[in-house]
Amino acid sequence: MSRSGFASKSYRTRGIVLRTHKLGEADRIITLLTPNGIVRAVAKGVRRTTSRLGATLEPFMEVEAQLVMGRNLDIVSQAQLRHAYGQLLVADYPSYTVANAMVEIAEKLLEADSDSTLRQYRLLHGALALLSKLAVEPGAVLDSYILRALSIAGWAPSFTSCVRCGKPGPHEALHVQLGGVVCADCRPSGSLSPHPVTIQYLQALLEGDWDAVALAGPRARKQAAEIVANYLQWHLERAVKSLRHVERS
């Protein structure tokens, strides 16, 4: 134990800022995704133009923060920027909308399950980094992120072998609620019959095979996006508000 009570109650962590809420006159509540879980902390005076922390504690930034434990909320005492993804993402409007959807999904997933925090952190970090490079179409990054975040949370879909009997594919029918493709024998009512290319595209998204993803046409992308959104909705059981505002090319 440290001799000073104050020092023992402060800790240092890195984290990605998921969202911010206004608090009082000039403060903000920062929702920080750290490798150990979600932390909500108060950043004092960041809305003033003289604040040094303001630009650092914006959404999507990866920061190294010093926090002091409080009774309800921790307090951010210092923060240093590690990666300024926010500045890069905001320059491209579709990327900005996608990043918003990703952080909302990350927050919702981790509220329910805190075992896989480190893996979710790495996945979100990787996704934001990729998005900020503008190398891949933002919509594809989002769909890939959703599929992989759900996989980490324990809802891994299968687009190769039948989700019921395990018969190796390729199969033609896809059942969203069951979580992937189904063979002709298992096919329940309510299954979809997407284009075979769409199923290959979904598999590429799940694996992060960006070369294969880049080859897909607009129809496969649209169809896949609908399937992914339904799959997310089915498991999350709550609406993701920002998904409606995502701009796809």
Binding site: E25, G54, A55, V90, Y93, S132, E207
Partner: protein, 256 residues
Amino acid sequence: MYEGAVQELIDELGRLPGIGPKSAQRIAFHILDADAEDMTRLAASIQLVKEKVKFCEICFNISEQDTCAICRDERREGSMICIVEESKDVLAIERTRAFGGRYHVLGGSINPLAGVGPEQLHIRELVTRLADDSITELILATDPNLEGEATAVYLVRALAPLGIKITRLASGLPVGGDLEYADEVTLARAFEGRRVAGRAAAPQVAPQLPAPEPRTEVPARGKPEAGESTSDHPVDAQTQQRFVVPEMDDHRSATR
């Protein structure tokens, strides 16, 4: 719990921003103790505000008439429109006395997490306003935070085809501070928006007046050329290079 009217007042006061149950109780008892005339005046002014104040039909600033005082003022420059998020921002800019044009209040900023998209803002009305040929410049004065920045980027993309000059407020170092304490993002922005302070020795003997402040147009970002991922700012390119970004592929094994 107090009886009827007092408890009702406490509950109502408690719904105001920044007022908790204890403060609500204190204010309620202050109202009970205070002069009846003063409190009637307070009640009347609340009522009056709700009855009379509405949004200006042109710029969506708060106003007591159909159009606000700024839109009615003939002496103001009609060719410049300053786009702000809230009516409070109009007041902040008016206090500087540096701007003599008109305003357009968007009513917020694009924030998908709060369910606010471009459709919820007064952007359509702005486009209608721009049909007027006398407007030559739009000044984007949204907040210098991420949401405000995203709104500005969206507006530039949506309004650039109209062919009107669009400028963005400068952002950079606060006056009276030390450079070493400036945060990276602000300092980088200060570099982006640097302006000419002096030129290489000119042949003239007479001392030159300082060069006119260059008004840099916000480049239409968001549409990078094929294969080009960085924006046209040298600083951006540098910062991007400096980042050692983890690949998403690193975690591919996680899903298998």
